[in-house]
């Protein structure tokens, strides 16, 4: 279990990294935290000819919360986000999800941008980004663009990034007023990939009627699954147990999990429904607690 040979380039600046990527195109991979890339290289499932190491680029690691959005630099490590108490308080989905992402040693090294660019559908952050309608800032040597989270994830381990592009920043909009959110997942062992995970965001009006509902799932498709259509039956209604059960039925009908090594697809579908029920109830409770 040793990686194949590759040419190593330690990036000296963002411009240097982008120029190197433009030169080497699909033969090159960016190396951020390496917590998904190195296992793949150790198994020789990945054999990039060139690795462009972004770890020297400390200015790509930042968390800037202006109260309206939080802008997170791509090289920000999970550990940094997990230890930002103000950000966790402002974004309960981060507070819920971060402790169950892999293990502490992995979170010490893994980066937000690397995780999202890897686009593992079982991973938590892509589902959170879809639920929160995050915006992804993408750079290349020739320009910059922004893409919505839902458009970024195109397939299994496949994103909207072109061969010369890098995800440089993720912008998470602040939770709206009178909203609540929650994330839950179930895995066989602490830190394992989830059998299923669900993130929910509910917004209520002054009469406790739901006026917006976001739902996103991980582990049950080839990309993070946007379940907001399934949750739209809540809109215009009070968030009662019956209303939640209708969403659960919609979610189970909408997803097409493939099964995992440990579980059948039916069990994943069952678990996704249970978690949907729990996160909607928790998100609803959080709106009321905040009132």
């Amino acid at each position: 279990m040793k990686p194949a040979s590759f040419k190593y380039i330690a990036a000296s600046s963002l411009a240097h990294a982008l120029a190197a990527k433009a030169d080497h195109g699909e033969d090159a991979k960016f190396l951020a935290g390496g917590q998904s890339l190195l296992p793949a290289m150790n198994f020789r499932l990945a054999r990039p000819a060139v690795l462009i190491d972004l770890n020297p680029l400390g200015d790509l690691a930042y968390i800037e919360d202006d109260g309206h959005d939080v802008r997170i630099g791509a090289l920000t490590r999970y550990r940094d986000l997990e230890s930002d108490a103000a950000c966790l308080k402002h974004y309960p989905l981060f507070a819920d999800a971060l402790p169950v992402i892999a293990h502490p040693q992995i979170r010490n090294r893994g980066t937000i941008g690397g995780n999202l660019s890897h686009a593992d559908p079982a991973s938590e952050m892509p589902a959170l980004a879809v639920a929160m309608q995050a915006r992804f800032r993408i750079r290349s040597a020739s320009g910059e663009r922004e893409v919505a989270a839902a458009e970024f994830f195109q397939g299994l381990l496949t994103t909207d990034l072109r061969d010369d592009e890098m995800l440089v920043e993720i912008v998470f909009p602040a939770p709206p007023a009178r909203s609540g959110s929650a994330f839950l997942e179930i895995s066989r062992r602490r830190g394992d990939f989830a059998i299923a995970g669900v993130a929910a965001i509910l917004k209520l009006d002054d009469n406790d009627i739901c006026i917006a509902a976001r739902l996103a799932l991980c582990g049950v498709g080839e990309t993070p699954v946007d379940g907001s259509d399934a949750a739209s039956v809540l809109i215009g209604h009070a968030v009662t147990a019956d209303a939640i059960n209708a969403v659960v039925a919609n979610v189970r009908a909408a997803i097409a999990p493939a099964g995992t090594v440990q579980t059948s697809a039916d069990y994943q579908r069952h678990i996704a429904g249970i978690l949907t029920e729990r996160v909607l109830a928790a998100a609803h409770q959080r709106v009321r607690d905040a009132a």
Binding site: M1, K2, P3, A4, S5, F6, K7, Y8, A10, L31, G34, Q35, L38, P39, N42, F43, L51, D53, N55, R79, P99, A102, H103, P104, Q105, I106, N108, R109, R189, R190, G191
Partner: protein
């Protein structure tokens, strides 16, 4: 064509080393084969078992998920760096000994590195917190109970020793 090599300089357990490494050399293999520090163990080589945990600038990381070339100019601590030069065990090591926290010992160096850093960050953990902190280190012998007991004892000792 011979593979490209990179010159690196790093500190391991307080000693400065200069070496020339191939880019694909894992930090775990570099520590064992080049520096001949075989206390750190290599288990799964894909970041699941935790046996190869070392401290990178004081923070626990999987050394099988880093390249040696990336450790240039960094500070690494392995299990060999825990005891004092006169051989006195670190409180975490002493507690593992006293509470029979190991049987085969394969996972032990990783457990020690994870938990010495953890107990510095959180000197008064609950048992649940200790189990959570240990979740990234697989042990197939002990069932973890004796490791947890050792960590609770080590935390108490470290609190008493703290100035």
């Amino acid at each position: 064509m011979p593979p490209e090599r990179h010159d690196i300089e790093l500190r391991v357990n307080g000693t400065t080393y200069r070496r020339s490494v191939e880019a694909r050399l894992l930090l775990s293999d570099f520590i064992r084969h080049d520096l001949l520090l075989a206390g750190m163990h290599v288990g799964c080589e894909h970041g699941v078992c935790g046996a190869c945990t070392v401290l990178l600038d004081g923070i626990p990381v999987r050394s099988c998920l880093m390249f040696a070339v990336q450790s240039n100019a960094h500070d690494i601590t392995t299990v060999e760096g825990l005891a004092t030069p006169d051989g006195a065990l670190h409180p975490v090591q002493q507690a593992m000994h006293e509470h029979h926290g190991l049987q085969c010992g394969y996972c032990t160096p990783g457990v020690l590195m994870t938990m010495t850093a953890y107990l510095q960050d959180n000197p008064s953990p609950s048992e649940d917190e200790v189990r959570d902190a240990l979740s990234g280190n697989l042990c197939r012998c002990t069932g973890y109970q004796n490791i947890v007991d050792a960590m609770m004892a080590a935390a108490a000792t470290m609190r008493e020793d703290a100035p």
